[in-house]
Symmetry: C2
Subunit: 86 residues, 2 copies
């Protein structure tokens, strides 16, 4: 199998695996089990992975980590919105 295809499949699967968490938080408007500090650490690490992917010129790494950054920024926004209310 082409290595890039393998990377894109891997990235697709790990991206899909994050969705239930995001959907649950948005649906239940409840993010109290999620740590804001953990999200900030994760966003930092994922951004470094995007940087790594750009330097290595590897599309699967850039795409999947950029998507993860977006998902986690959305989770962070949800955390801040829903925690304010409660």
């Amino acid at each position: 199998m082409d290595i890039e295809v393998l990377g894109l499949v891997a990235g697709g699967i790990t991206s899909v695996a994050m969705m239930p968490q995001l959907i649950k938080v948005i649906k239940e408007k409840n993010a109290e089990d999620i740590s804001v500090v953990m999200l900030l650490v994760l966003i930092t690490g994922l951004s470094l992975w995007v940087w790594y992917g750009i330097l290595q010129n590897e599309l699967p790494i850039i795409l999947s980590n950029s998507f993860s950054v977006l998902v986690n920024i959305t989770l962070l926004i949800c955390c801040m919105m829903f925690k304010k209310k409660s």
Copy 2:
């Protein structure tokens, strides 16, 4: 900065970001918010990333995703142990 060092730092940060979840589940002996299906999907995707890292011969990708596989297998075991009890 050396690209491999960047990758190792990125991998280290994203690995550390997973620990609070694992510690919380083990400490509280409660994994009811975690979906077993999601964990299985995630473990599949992460294993493909390890395979990708081996084919590309990139140590940061192999190390960080292998660590993630271990953490998620531990979470899976916790899920099955703690769900049986309740």
